[in-house]
Symmetry: C2
Subunit: 413 residues, 2 copies
């Protein structure tokens, strides 16, 4: 699975109207509690609930300044017990608020445990929004009991976690494992401060497959490596990045433990959901007009290929060139080289869309208007073949426009 497939295989099929509650036995909901200005998106507090205890895996931001909400969830995951519920709020990151942040995160967990009929150590908590402001616990205390969870509530939850997102990000697939059909569904949020490391802003995935804890962890980490860790909006890494995968076993398959074909199919399903959600975050980047997909082939190995690909989509000069439909491929070469990983310049091929513009490291003749048209597509594909090995990797970003500057130069005050 070093190569990322964008299309479904015959074994993994998209579920229509998919959400984080597409898998059997999961319910969710959201309310407007009052953490955000009303109007933009009406919901700001959400709950995901499993009818039965789940095996859980999660990854968190590596930022040295970590939100107490994420820290508390990390501790719960580390303890290794079953998980029943996830509570999440938008409008406030619960970060850089001192000891009060832990007190509030614990209270949110206790409130959610009460609403869910679960124990506090079975509840994970996530927060997203402005850094440096305390959680308004009064409105959270009032709002929590008003959440009505339902099997269709995944869509509501996806809206409850939005901040500068222009739309919810949801997806689900089905996969046949052990003679049973299992679902993997999920949702995510994020539009700015996006350059995740080990996880993204907030992403929630659920499955009714029966999965052993250690393999669930491996499937999640492998999926995050090629999805959320390969996107970029602005090179800024959040303090609250969290990605959670819950498995409740309701599909009734015998437990997936890795090393067999069914486990491989399940991992593929998780990856397809993760990649879809990650691309949705990149596509919805603040101010973005284009999704940029950078595919690097012929690297010495997959890990280096991913580093090259991410460097391309992270470069402000590549981002602005795409925005301006400018086939300034020298910026792609610069972005490859700034990784400081050695390449053989004389072997490099570059394609924009399906049009080759560089061969042997230098420009070749092409019809400029065709390339400009390829740069005008909603999805701009940049492909580089380094021709020194077999490693391939993909990353996704978005263009940098005046909209990003406007949105972020007037955010809190």
């Amino acid at each position: 699975m070093t190569e990322v497939s964008n299309s479904m295989t015959s074994h993994v099929s998209q579920v229509s109207d998919g959400s984080v509650t597409s898998a059997k036995g999961f319910r969710a909901g959201g309310v407007y509690a009052g953490l955000k200005t009303p109007g933009r998106t009406k919901l700001d507090l959400g709950l995901i609930l499993s009818d039965t205890p789940c095996t859980a895996a999660a990854t968190f931001s590596r930022n040295s300044v970590l939100s107490p909400s994420a820290s508390l969830s990390r501790e719960t995951i580390k303890a290794g017990g079953p998980v029943r519920a996830i509570v999440a709020n938008s409008g406030c990151a619960n970060c850089c608020v001192g000891a009060q942040g832990f007190t509030d995160a614990k209270e949110m967990v206790a409130l959610a445990a009460g609403a869910a009929g679960a124990k506090p150590n079975e509840v994970l908590v996530c927060s997203t929004g402005v850094i440096g402001k305390e959680l308004p616990m009064g409105v959270i205390r009032e709002g929590m009991p008003k959440i009505r969870v339902s099997p269709d509530g995944g869509h509501e939850f996806a809206r409850a976690i939005m901040t500068t997102d222009s739309r919810p990000k949801e997806y689900a697939v089905s996969v046949k494992v052990g003679g049973k059909t299992a679902i993997v569904g999920g949702c995510a949020k994020g539009a700015g401060m996006i350059h995740p490391n080990m996880a993204t802003m907030l992403a929630f995935m659920t499955t009714d497959a029966n999965v052993a804890q250690s393999f669930l962890r491996k499937a999640l980490v492998d999926a995050v490596t090629v999805s959320f860790n390969q996107i970029d909006v602005d090179t800024d890494q959040s303090t609250n990045d969290t990605c959670i995968l819950l498995a409740n076993g309701a599909a009734g398959n015998s437990p997936l433990k890795g090393g067999d074909n069914d486990s491989h199919l399940f991992a593929e399903a998780v990856q397809s959901v993760a990649v879809h959600l990650a691309k949705e975050i990149a596509r919805d980047g603040e101010g973005a007009k284009h999704l940029i997909e950078a595919r690097v082939e012929g690297a010495r190995n997959a890990q280096e290929a991913r580093v090259f690909a991410r460097s391309i989509v992270s470069s402000p000069l590549v981002k602005t060139a795409v925005y301006g439909r400018d086939p300034n491929w020298g910026r792609i070469m610069m972005a490859i080289g700034k990784t400081e990983i050695p390449i053989e310049e004389s072997k490099v091929q570059i394609f924009i869309g399906d049009i080759q513009i560089v061969e042997g490291g230098i420009a070749i003749q092409y019809f400029t208007q065709s390339v400009v048209a390829a740069l005008g597509q909603p999805e701009v594909r940049l492909r580089v073949n380094l021709n020194v090995g077999n490693g391939a990797g993909v990353a996704w970003g978005c263009d940098l426009t005046e909209g990003y500057v406007v949105e972020n130069s007037a955010y809190t005050t």
Copy 2:
């Protein structure tokens, strides 16, 4: 010298109208050869010449894609012989053009050697401008003999290396060493693709001090570490970054070899010129309206302090917050944490200008209008005390405005 002083000491004094030819025995000049569209800045080919052979030191970009001009100069420096001249062009980076790039760089050196009356292995070459286009050798052959070098020609040379720069960047200081007064002067260019590693875009420094080769190298590397390597415009690292320091010994002092007080004073003079030029590059960042200075104190050591400081000035969210005069200090915390270097959040103090806004890692009361006013200054000073050690470091950047996006979304085509 781990702490960078912004003010001159009593030993190092600014030279009025300083340039790369302020030191005795250096001449320079520039012409419009025809590499750039005429009008914006009229000059595009420049030459620096020393009347006598110089000891030389230089640093180059670590980008894996390196301009043949920089590669050739790196070889010449590595050979260790004396240097007599530097030729530089703007308008074309001579990068990603295959073997032709080396042929052209060698011819440029040969042409400059002819004009300077020097041997080719005594001439360094630098190029800056668009990547992926071959040098127009015809106009360079015609232009080179037209360059008239003079002791006042440093200003002309500084203009000849400009690309998107809005103004030339020049500076010189004097320092007393071994009973003689020596000058260190320099010029630099750069406004975009600025996130140097081991050197900056193009920076040229000359001195008439008599300096031993090994100490000259050390003085340059130490100065670059706290100056050009601490600036950021857009996190993109150029393929052509070069910083050269020539010493011709015309001041007549006994050779500086390091380890004594005079050597220390000379290193201080080099650093003061390097810091001044580096700040000028950050100040003139594409679209910039503010110079941002981030000073991090109380880190465990100077190296970590510099990493923190540079992460702050490199963050698009900090850059846009400064542009919007938004005291969104959570973004400063995020930028510190995204280095993934451990800190003690509860000890962090943050100041904007002279106003403290964070104590013990959380917000304190302050008069918002005063902070907004501090963010409106041409030089915005951000200061962080981590209170875990004695390491201090400074970095310089600029704000991110719509101007950067506009300028870079319509550059080549």
